[in-house]
Symmetry: C2
Subunit: 389 residues, 2 copies
């Protein structure tokens, strides 16, 4: 299918600058994928997203299948048309939210529901049965069903259904789960091949938790299956150190000719680390969620403290600070508004605060990714790092 | 003061098309003033406001004196600079919120507080003492203090402190209150004259409730005092019919060479009525508040029912409606998004819904005012009315 391709333009160490071509345009990698969880980046309109240099967004199958439902979205012409977003888009399989509810271990933010609403009913080889947090209705998600739903949503890049195992389960559980996820991946591919029209491509997801031998087994499976791209999923460990290790040996085992996505990672230091290991794309709620809590991302030369990648605009120190979030930032918010105004809006609980800080954080991350890409092209990634960490 | 002037360009019956010139630019009248209550139109950024044809916004002295405080705003360079709004701006005196809390009769929306938080402590000839709903601190607002605060905020058009009497008080109370408000107006003028620098002009407010003789007395007072502009305040009656009567005889008594503002009126039918009586400017939370409840303003030819000036996008009928709010609208929202998407966002409680509907309603009202102005210039106001009512 000539609608899609992945080209590595330049390799610098293991880091690479590439191009993912899709029917909705090209993604210059490394790239960050922002979370339009329920089909909207909550407080940001699509035109400002675009103006901020955003190349690709993702939406969550889990939320959208429950509301408004994939058939409604299909009738409205698909997710791109419904949202008014004409650039590349990714959807996940729905699995992450279902299983993180069941296991009850991962960020409540992404789930969009409170813990008392955990609704996973059963999980077996066939798939998962869960209750809607909206109306209590029972849903069954199988690998086939996830593909069918994602075909109706119509994102460019779609993912196979996998079981997301948390850190605290045993190696044996992780192994059995991984092997089930492999079977699901094979069924996903079969379902995908049945009705693909060249408008979407499928990503496999490597599993195996923190166990090197399992990761190897999983990568070999992924490498031999006809996926367009690959993602690193499952548990990445208990802390940053272990996460770096897991990603490192995962990247050793995975083929290098496919676009490779790291699920759920979004801090600046982690992004640099992962890019040095060959990761091409990232997604994380961090930049946009942080904004909704008053946190503005900031470069080291603008930081008052070196321990954080952001400033908390709620802090009293910004009450009379007439400077923009960053003097050298040309985002909408920094061109128009001061830290003091944002501080005040947060204090007064005016929604505009979240909108304006979200614009800054999105612009910031896009700028970061552009700078990293240019640095890879120029063979100076390590020097570039010092501008951001 | 050559920074400010009011020119009537064309009179058509009692309706007039004019121009209010201010240091921050001109306002083509009739014009609508949108409520940036606490120094932000909640979900709308100033650039999109500007793009939607907005000429002037207002902010409420009451909220801003409590948070962040007038001294903070002055230190930040004034309200225009703090908000990033470089066009004309109006502030009210603070009285409306204080007294509507005391009397407990007017829209909770504008007050921004719940009824159990009513905090007016005393009111006498000197001024009003009330408690902050934010931190419980006691504040005293006198006519002089209101002017001093508004001078620090720095809006172009500012208002005298008045007591806002509700409908249910007696004629005697209304009369005493009116005479006190006249004394306050005189004190406001004296305070204003003391330190005016040609950067602001003062509006008087006519009182007298629904009593013709009191309205006459109040208008004569206003006519003889050196105000730049005049507003119609106080109770306008129990229903639309009485409101039209009160405004009608008020307009008979008021001088016609000053810009005349009608406080708190914002429905399309009321706007047409008032413009026919010679009103130049309006303010009301209606268009923006309506948007935050899912209501989109709509012209009669786009309406499914003729009884309302808006559609409620929460209604199930819009679930699969792929049309924009209005086919013939060129606002940001109508250019980009369907009714179905807005319906979905409202159902999913995504904040973007409020932002997008707010943009439409602001654009709609600005378009309404532009059309009315052009119709006055062309002597065809009554024909124009049929496009909107």
């Amino acid at each position: 299918m000539s609608n899609f391709s992945f080209i590595i333009i330049k390799q610098s160490g293991s880091a690479r600058a590439g191009l993912i071509n899709t029917p909705h345009g090209s993604i210059e990698t490394p790239a960050f994928i922002f979370c339009a969880t329920k089909g909207a980046i909550k407080v940001a309109d699509t035109e400002r997203l675009d103006d901020a240099g955003t190349q690709i967004i993702l939406a969550n199958t889990y939320h959208l299948m429950l509301q408004p439902g994939e058939d409604t979205i299909a009738q409205l012409g698909g997710l791109h048309k419904m949202m008014g977003w004409n650039k590349p888009m990714l959807t996940d399989s729905g699995g992450y939210q279902i299983f993180s509810l069941g296991h009850g271990s991962v960020s409540e933010e992404i789930k969009g529901i409170r813990s008392k609403q955990r609704t996973l009913l059963t999980i077996n080889e066939d798939g998962a049965v869960f209750r809607s947090y909206i109306n209590g209705k029972t849903y069954c998600l199988t690998p086939e069903k996830s593909i069918q739903i994602q075909q109706k949503l119509g994102a460019d890049l779609i993912l196979v259904l996998d079981e997301c195992t948390p850190f605290h389960v045993s190696k044996e559980y992780t192994k059995q789960s991984m092997r089930m996820s492999h079977k699901w991946a094979t069924r996903s591919l079969q379902e995908f091949e049945k009705s693909k029209q060249g408008k979407q491509v499928l990503y496999g997801i490597s599993q195996g938790g923190v166990y090197k031998d399992l990761r190897k087994e999983s990568c070999e499976f992924i490498n031999n299956a006809p996926f367009f791209g690959q993602a690193i999923g499952g548990s990445l460990g208990k802390d940053k150190k272990q996460m770096y290790e897991v990603v490192a040996y995962n990247m050793e085992y995975l083929r290098q000719d496919r676009p490779t996505h790291l699920l759920g990672i979004g801090s600046i230091v982690d992004i640099f680390h992962a890019i040095n290991l060959g990761i091409d794309t990232f997604d994380c709620v961090h930049p946009t969620r942080l904004a909704r809590h008053g946190g503005a991302l900031i470069k080291p030369n603008n930081r008052s403290s070196q321990c954080k990648e952001h400033i908390n605009l709620r802090n009293k120190q910004f009450e009379l600070d007439n400077n923009p979030i960053e003097d050298d930032c040309s985002c909408f918010t920094c061109r128009k508004h001061s830290r003091a105004y944002l501080h005040y809006l947060l204090k007064a609980r005016e929604l505009l605060a979240y909108t304006l800080i979200t614009y800054h954080n999105i612009f910031f991350i896009n700028k970061l990714m552009q700078s990293i890409r240019q640095a890879i092209l120029d063979n100076r990634l390590n020097q570039e790092k010092s501008n951001w960490i």
